[in-house]
């Protein structure tokens, strides 16, 4: 148990993941991938489009298993889906036939909590994301930003110790995205979860994270890691105009650019 306490939230140690393509060829999505996420740490992962960023998250959830190497969560190897993990998807993953509150209640009900308790807790979370008035709406009646808030409430209600986010805000417009960043940082600072936030938007990564991992063009491996030493609490809307933010942005982009160009050249070839 003593090991459990001090162990990092997530460790990926020399992990590789290969797929069989429909034609029977083996494709490597990630190779020799090593990453450590400490408890309570906010890590952003950036890399060129389609390099295998999402694969790393699936390995942590247990939805996919590594072809080689080891994935450890809270010090123990990953076996199946860990209840301490929450996941926010890029696409809309709400259940369209359930009302907003029923969507938020889904997690506790799946985990066999009593209905009244689930309902009270769901109300509480909807109030926290500012959707108390929309309990009885169906997802299609909400805007994209509101649906994302429901998705956040749906994930946070389970009290995840690890939060995995796969380009969660990429479909939102710029203004809504900044609001969602604020919302996420607020929820994160209350929940004290460890976060892995996958994105292709470098500024988003710098504004939110403690550490930024830059990946190579596929097969993905870690190219460099940057520690972002910007003070918290951060105001995402303003932080991008600070000199230190701009410096980070310039340095990391110089690094990321090569990979983006490699990836682009390959796609064009």
């Amino acid at each position: 148990m003593a090991v459990e306490k001090t162990a990092p939230a997530i460790e990926l140690i020399n992990v590789s993941r290969r797929f069989l393509s429909p034609t029977g060829k083996s494709l490597t999505a990630i190779r020799d991938f090593t990453m450590t996420v400490e408890r309570g740490e906010f890590v952003a992962v950036v890399g060129p489009t389609g390099c295998g960023k999402s694969t790393t998250l699936n390995l942590v959830t247990g939805l996919a298993s590594p072809s080689a190497g080891e994935v450890r969560v809270m010090g123990a190897p990953v076996k199946g889906i860990d209840p301490r993990i929450g996941f926010v998807f890029q696409t809309d993953a709400l259940f369209p036939w359930r009302t907003v509150i029923e969507n938020v209640m889904a997690g506790p009900l799946f985990r066999a909590k009593p209905k009244a308790e689930a309902q009270a807790s769901a109300r509480d979370w909807l109030a926290r994301v500012g959707l108390a008035r929309f309990e009885q709406h169906y997802p299609h009646q909400l805007s994209g930003g509101m649906r994302k808030r429901v998705a956040l409430a749906q994930t946070f209600i389970n009290g995840p110790e690890i939060l995995l986010m796969d380009e969660p805000f990429s479909a939102l417009d710029v203004q809504t995205r900044v609001l969602m960043h604020e919302e996420l940082l607020r929820l994160w600072s209350e929940a004290k979860a460890s976060v892995v936030f996958v994105t292709h938007d470098l500024e988003e990564a710098i504004a939110l994270a403690d550490k930024v991992y830059v990946l190579t063009a596929g097969p993905a491996t870690v190219k460099s890691v940057y520690t972002i030493d910007l003070p918290r609490p951060r105001v995402v809307a303003d932080i991008r105009y600070e000199q230190s933010f701009i410096d980070y942005s310039r340095t990391i982009w110089a690094n990321l650019k090569e990979e983006v160009e490699t990836s682009y050249a390959r796609a064009a070839a």
Partner: protein, 292 residues
Amino acid sequence: MTDATVNISAASFRPGTSDAEIEAAAAKAAVNRRRTVIFWRLAILIAFLGLWEIAGRMAWIDPFFYAMPSAIAGRLYEWMTEGTSEGPLWYHLYVTMEESVLGFVTGSVAGIIIGVALGRNRMAADIFSIYIKVINSIPRVVLAPIFIMILGLGLASKVALAFVMVFFVVFHNAFQGVREADRAMIANARILGASDWQLTRSVIVPSAMSWIFASLHVSFGFAIIGAIVGEFVGSRYGIGLLINIAKGSFDAAGMYAAIVIVMVVALGAEYLMTLVENRLAKWRPQPLHETQ
């Protein structure tokens, strides 16, 4: 916007027209549009029946083969008030409906259960798919004589035929619906903590529901076909038997009258199905114009 959206040209309003006036005009245009649709529907029906009647009376077509609307209506009235040569009409209708409904219910329940089960289990699907293809390639009606030989002239053989008519349609759609269920939604449910059974019950089946309903719409019609074909081949009661007897006695009006009865029943069933579906699918976005 769908094509049914009411268009009002901006030119018809002077500057400064209030919203209320625009809304009133839009509501009026919607009512007019609906009236036009109903008018043309009725007009076409009346023209069709009228032409048929006239063509029969003027002997452009031979009423012996083609009957006439008035003769068909007369036969229907006679059947309803005095009964058919084989006993009361209502009893025949009841028998056919009983066969269809039983075949429809058992066929769709079995289709949904097996479709969902195979949709969830890739290995089983791969193994059984070849047999399902083989059986599905049999034209269902050729099974009628076999069922009648095995199960007799009564209810069971017709229910069996209606069952096989319905089963494959529903099975196919349920299977497809399960396969089309959104990957992200399934992953989401599993990470939220859903067990396999919870996943099937609260994610897979609801998301396959629109596929399943699409098949239920057509399959009640198929159930009726199954029942009637079974009755043609051998039975003591039923609408199919009435058609068969009318054919034997060259009673064209009787045959058409039986067809009218089946049409009315099938349309009624379709209407009921739509009501049920609308209740179950209240989460789906409604087109704007329907909320007016």
